[in-house]
Subunit: 203 residues, 2 copies
DNA sequence: CGATTTATTTATCGCTTGCTACAGAAAGGT
DNA sequence: ACCTTTCTGTAGCAAGCGATAAATAAATCG
């Protein structure tokens, strides 16, 4: 079953990647079609034929980000020997991810809380779910630790997860504001200083 | 020295306040002139005559926010009996500020890291300075505590300030994402659990 | 009063936005 | 060869953007 018709003259994945970098940096509304077509090296009709619409393209770049840029945290959390190490790895990994040279600072999913303004309600829900998923992952890891008996049954797992998620999201903003990797790592270490207090059994 | 010419038919402060709420909620690019004029109850020429341009209006709303909405933290920090209480008050106050019913969620200055996209370089610097000012305030309060001898001389004051600023900025995002005041307060308490570890003398 | 000053209304301006109609080009199918 | 299918470039759509020109209205000044 060979492909019929005139073959595409550009690499779809490469074009998608370039679109992702633009959306990541400037948000949905902040990125115009002319910027997109210029960066992707194609004309508007090719973009629409290949991706459907600006919003569909945006959602696809978000999925690409989830898979290749923001990813790996789920397995990393599971692989860590204990929950404390898992969360520390999560924060230290975020510090590195948020400050990679040549890539926009901060996390595309986190910043989309604001950057996705103008997108449809449906897409906004998708993004919100992606954010909630991270909280769910953290809670699951903590729950597993509690099941092992390594965490007091009385401690508030969702509050712990919420705290570390908040720190990580704050790191996204700080990265956007110019914070270096070293600064973010110091923040991560600061957050880990709360571990003992957070996981102590309730009185 | 009475005023010459036809008097203005709208209240400048009231119009500015309404513009602030719009910019706060939707950001600079996300707010259009037609939305502004509709919300302010005036026509475009009145807006330009009174405020100069969309960007000038934006900067003026930011100043208004600084004075009346985000303000009070400087004096609150100084009034607290000790640095720990000062920071706890800062975070708990933020939790309240970020979730006031009838007002956009989160902090206008913090969210401007992203929401101010499209604004001039000069205005962006102003906003960045406003953010840096908060870090400076926290550091000054910690420094004062250290001068009293209530904080080990060896602890890293800028790292402590950086950590709590990051948490507060993270809370802004969480608020935008729908977090309740109670959730944010739990995060604030979580951050305070790091205090002992952060302020312990270095080994 | 008339002259001056300022604000308001109406009706745009030039430009960019996201998007698409159309004609031509390059492949496979038969 | 010819037809079909798919992609590409040009050219342009309606709508909205930020901003303004011109005419009118309402105040003070002399």
């Amino acid at each position: 079953m060979a492909e019929r018709g005139r073959p595409r003259t550009f690499d779809r994945g490469e074009a998608l990647h370039r679109a992702m970098l633009l959306f990541w940096e400037k948000g949905y509304q902040g990125t115009s079609m002319s910027e997109l077509t210029a960066a992707m090296g194609i004309n508007a009709p090719s973009l629409y034929a290949c991706f459907g619409s600006k919003e569909a393209l945006y959602r696809e770049t978000m999925a690409l980000y989830d898979d290749y840029e923001g990813g790996g945290f789920g397995s990393a959390l599971a692989a860590a020997p204990d929950a404390r190490t898992a969360i520390e790895t999560y924060l230290m990994g975020s510090a590195k991810l948020f400050t990679r040279p040549g890539k926009p600072a901060g996390c595309m999913v986190v910043l989309s809380v604001i950057q996705a303004a103008g997108v449809s309600e449906e897409a906004a829900c998708e993004l919100r779910d992606a954010r909630a998923e991270m909280q769910r992952l953290l809670e699951a890891r903590l729950q597993a630790e509690a099941a092992k008996g390594a965490l007091p049954a009385s401690c508030d797992i969702s509050a712990i997860a919420s705290f570390y998620i908040t720190v990580q999201q704050g790191m996204s903003i700080r990265a956007r504001d110019g914070a270096t990797r070293a600064e973010l790592e110091a923040v991560a270490r600061g957050a880990m200083a709360a571990w003992t207090g957070l996981t102590r059994a309730r009185t």
